[in-house]
């Protein structure tokens, strides 16, 4: 049977660019890096660049104006401001680096261990982190100054300890997230030791966010370092940005301009660091963005243009039948400002009381069609052409106020994932009664009664209890019933059901399908039923539309499509179904092949 196994073509290799490459291609990234590099160079080359020794004072130069000899002027002791600024950078950057390193030396290992092993170490270290973050850092530094004296270096080490919780929390959160990934389980099964798992798998993931964090922390440290010197830590004679600001403050009446240079230096350095961190964050997010998991909004890769015109003119592109409840003509949906088209001219009709199945694999565009009807395409998606009408009334291009009278009132929507579609902060009943009150203008009490009836109708055993419950207090099957109740709460004419049973167990699915069928018949609903499961289609649908890569390839009554599929793709899909095939033992017996 190896002939079935075709070698899948790999998509053309996308331009692979590392995170560094991405930062270098981001204008803000490159600008910030250049600025940081210049600052670093000026700092290192201070002895070469400075016009004179930063400590040399001359009575002639007290508050000297800007001149060739003193490009930034002189200070109250007649020292050259530019020289002090350049040398001061050394103190500032070194102090900040000491604090940053201290925080990393403590935070990184502690975070890795807490995130990977959890348990006691995690609780204890998290408690300690809370403790360290409870007090304003400056107060702690002031208090400890009486113990350790006014040394700026000691203070920066202590400040590093105070900052360690930040690094710790970041690393811990990332590491414990990674800990639950299946690839760590796979590494455990392969017998990798803990140290190797941490070094190989966790450090790789932690690295990027930590560098970003470090850039931000470095900026904070530079400012705090200057602040401490401003408060009188350290040696006031040593040139540093903080002591220069203090000088400026003491002479604020005579020479306020002395405040600008060190302040600007601080601002420029911090801003460059923050911009670099931002650019790095964007690059990291672009790199790890996971492709949409399961049939969500996944746009097919660009360039999957239809290789053949749609065979067999399904649901004629012509006039819609006059009695159609929902009528879609030539619908096109595109993302990225129209550059990536994911639905290429789909036309379909749903009559009153008819259940139409829209079937396809992930990326076929079936969900896009359903969301277009509701006018709720995800950000970046838009209908580029076509028409959608509900009972003859056009829906596209109508104002939001009109759509609000349609959504929920005339079109009900049942989503795929039951748990994520209920607002976790509101009681189940309130979420439903809010809708009823808005659309039907019922009083609070009347709305409550209606919702209780609805909950009973969708088979919830104790409606009053479920009404009061929060979403996390009910099971997935119950949550899906609640969502169905929400969809039919205002007696709509049309239901849009987007994979309503995909997330459920088979036995629960069968119950939910029974419920949907009963409700549909009872209320004479038209239903657009989006699914990838042909069994579900066979269970509930009157008519079936098969979608592939944004086009409908076949549109026929349900029984016909299963009996005599016409399009190759439909045949391929039905042929992939395992249900009808003989069991493995039976196949083995037929070929005379025993157990291996």
């Amino acid at each position: 049977m190896s002939q079935i196994v075709s070698i899948p073509a790999l998509p053309a290799a996308p331009a692979r660019r590392g995170v560094i490459g991405k930062v270098l291609h981001d204008p803000l990234g490159i600008i910030s890096l250049v600025v940081l590099l210049l600052i670093l160079l000026a700092t290192v080359l201070a002895p070469v660049l400075a016009p004179q020794d930063p400590g040399r004072s001359s009575l002639d130069d007290i508050f000297a104006p800007i001149s060739a000899a003193h490009p930034l002027g002189g200070d109250s002791a007649g020292r050259d401001l530019l020289s002090r600024l350049l040398y001061g950078a050394q103190v500032s950057l070194l102090g900040a680096s000491i604090a940053l390193l201290t925080s990393l030396v403590i935070g990184l290992p502690a975070g890795l261990i807490a995130g990977y092993y959890g348990r006691t170490f995690d609780s204890v270290s998290s408690w300690a982190a809370n403790l360290l973050q409870a007090l304003p850092a400056i107060i702690v530094l002031l208090a400890l100054r009486t113990v350790f004296g006014p040394s700026i270096w000691t203070s920066m080490v202590i400040f590093g300890v105070m900052l360690a919780p930040g690094a710790y929390r970041l690393v811990r959160a990332t590491a414990s997230g990674v800990r639950n990934e299946l690839y760590i389980d796979a590494a455990l099964v392969s017998g990798l030791s803990d140290t190797r798992i941490i070094a190989r798998h966790m450090l790789r993931v932690v690295r990027g966010p930590l560098i970003m964090h470090s850039a931000m922390v470095l900026a904070i440290c530079i400012n705090i370092q200057a602040g401490l010197e401003f408060l009188g830590f350290g040696d006031p004679q040593t040139a540093s940005w903080g002591s220069m600001l203090n000088e400026g403050f003491l002479n604020i009446f005579q020479a306020p301009q002395m405040l600008s240079w060190p302040g600007l230096a601080l601002f420029l350095t911090s801003a460059a660091l923050a911009l670099f961190a931002g650019s790095l964050r964007d690059a990291l997010q672009a790199g790890t963005a996971k492709p949409a998991r399961r049939r969500r909004v996944a746009a097919p890769p660009a360039g999957t243009a239809p290789d053949a015109p749609p065979s067999g003119p399904p649901a004629g592109n012509g006039e819609s039948p006059p009695d159609a409840l929902l009528s879609i003509r030539g619908l096109r949906v595109a993302y990225g400002g129209g550059s990536v088209e994911v639905v290429h001219g789909v036309s379909l009709d749903v009559a009153r009381g008819e259940v139409v199945g829209l079937v396809g694999e992930s990326g076929s565009g079936k969900t896009q069609v359903a969301l277009s009807v509701l006018g709720l395409l995800p950000t970046g998606g838009e209908v580029t052409s076509g028409a959608i009408a509900l009972a003859g009334e056009p829906l596209l291009g109508r104002p939001a106020s009109f759509l609000r009278t349609v959504r929920g009132r005339r079109i009900g929507y049942i989503p795929q994932e039951p748990m994520s579609n209920l607002d976790p902060s509101f009681r189940v009943g309130n979420q439903l009664s809010e809708v009823v009150r808005v659309h039907l203008g019922l009083s609070r009490a009347a709305a409550r009664d209606r919702v209780l009836d609805l909950l009973a109708r969708v088979g919830i055993p104790d409606p009053a209890r479920t009404y009061r419950a929060f979403p996390h207090e009910i099971s997935g099957g119950m949550a899906q019933r609640v969502l169905i109740a929400g969809a039919v709460s205002c007696d709509p004419e049309l239901l849009i059901a987007d994979e309503p049973t995909t997330a459920l167990d088979v036995t629960v699915q069968a119950d939910i399908l029974d419920l949907l069928r009963d409700l549909q018949q009872e209320k004479g609903l038209g239903v657009l039923f989006v699914t990838h499961n042909f069994g579900v289609v066979a269970d509930v649908c009157d008519r079936v539309l098969v979608m592939r890569q944004g086009e409908i390839v076949e549109d026929r009554p349900a029984q016909e499509i299963f009996d005599t599929p016409r399009h190759d793709y439909t045949r391929l899909l039905l042929g992939s179904m395992l249900d009808g095939r003989p069991a493995r033992l039976a196949r083995a017996a037929a070929t005379g092949d025993g157990r291996a």
């Binding site: 049977m1 079935i4 196994v5 075709s6 070698i7 899948p8 790999l10 996308p14 692979r16 990934e181 299946l182 690839y183 389980d185 796979a186 590494a187 455990l188 099964v189 017998g191 030791s193 803990d194 190989r200 798998h201 790789r204 993931v205 790890t288 996971k290 998991r293 399961r294 694999e361 992930s362 167990d505 088979v506 036995t507 699915q509 069968a510 399908l513 029974d514 990838h532 499961n533 042909f534 069994g535 579900v536 289609v537 066979a538 269970d539 649908c541 349900a558 029984q559 039905l574 992939s576 179904m577 395992l578 249900d579 009808g580 003989p582 069991a583 493995r584 033992l585 157990r595 291996a596």
Partner: protein
């Protein structure tokens, strides 16, 4: 009948609960199952049935509270990490979600070499083996230098299969390996698994919620419900004429892709539910 490769007896798995006084959560209540060399045993059940826990306990990823797990007559229920390293040659895993079972920041080459160098294969030899592996699962050779995230779901699952088979194991625990895949991809991945089994003689413990999938790949099928094994037997028998009431409910709940047959199926299901409700 060949001797058992894997022998699980009265396995109990309990997870400590969060509260101090509340009782631990018992995921498995004494499960016994055998897997023989080269065969596929399908393990079916719904969420919460304990099927995944059983697979994870065998792999050492879930705590064994009571009972025994024997692999080739060695007790592995409480194997240490060092023992596991030795076991890794013989016992491997393929997970459900191909998006989180491969480290997104590693190349396919790195991923496939990892199990090899744990067992001390040299770099040169490992590279040759990786190329052979890719060939076996029908991925192009240039896949070595590419990141897992560049591949589709089906292709990622092929990488996961290659990783599992790198050390020529005797048993692979497959935890819902095709559940996250599209219909047409599902069948090809299953066929690849069957083909590899026939050429390598590896045994599978195949965990799935989908009776159709299990029926297609399994020689024998075991059905789990609420932490217990309720039925076990030949694959085609269990998946077509089961005895246990739960298995019958499960079988009838799965919709069949044909409207008229499904209508009959549905009627049967309602009749069965009414019957079971009377009892």
């Amino acid at each position: 009948m060949p001797e058992s490769l894997l022998e699980v007896r009265d396995l109990v798995v309990e997870y400590p609960s969060k509260g101090l006084r509340s009782k631990p959560f018992r995921a498995l209540h004494g499960v016994s199952i055998d897997v023989r060399p080269g065969e596929t045993v399908g393990l079916v059940g719904e969420s919460g049935s304990g099927k995944t826990t059983l697979g994870r306990a065998i792999l050492g990823l879930a705590p064994v509270t009571e009972g025994s797990i024997r692999f080739e007559d060695r007790e592995i229920g409480h194997a240490s990490r060092r023992d596991r390293r030795g076991l890794a040659r013989d016992l491997q895993v393929i997970f459900q979600d191909p998006y989180t079972s491969l480290n997104p920041s590693m190349t396919v080459g790195d991923i496939l070499t990892e199990p090899l160098w744990v067992t001390g294969v040299r770099r040169q030899a490992a590279q040759t083996q990786v190329r052979e592996l890719l060939d076996k699962v029908r991925l192009p050779k240039d896949a070595v230098d590419r990141y897992a995230r560049e591949f589709s779901g089906g292709q990622r699952q092929r990488v996961a299969i290659a990783r599992a088979l790198a050390l020529r194991p005797k048993l692979v625990v497959c935890d819902e390996p095709v559940s996250a895949l599209d219909l047409s991809t599902q069948a090809t991945v299953l066929d690849l698994l069957i083909e590899l089994q026939e050429s390598l003689g590896v045994a599978y413990l195949f965990v799935s919620h989908d009776l159709g999938v299990v029926r297609y790949i399994s020689h024998r099928v075991a059905v789990m419900y609420q932490g217990r094994l309720v039925e076990e037997g030949d694959g085609d028998v269990v998946t077509s004429s089961p005895e246990h009431p739960y298995t019958r409910r499960l079988l009838l709940a799965a919709p069949v892709p044909d409207p008229s047959r499904q209508a009959a199926n549905r009627a049967d299901r309602h009749r069965l539910l009414a019957q079971q409700a009377e009892l």
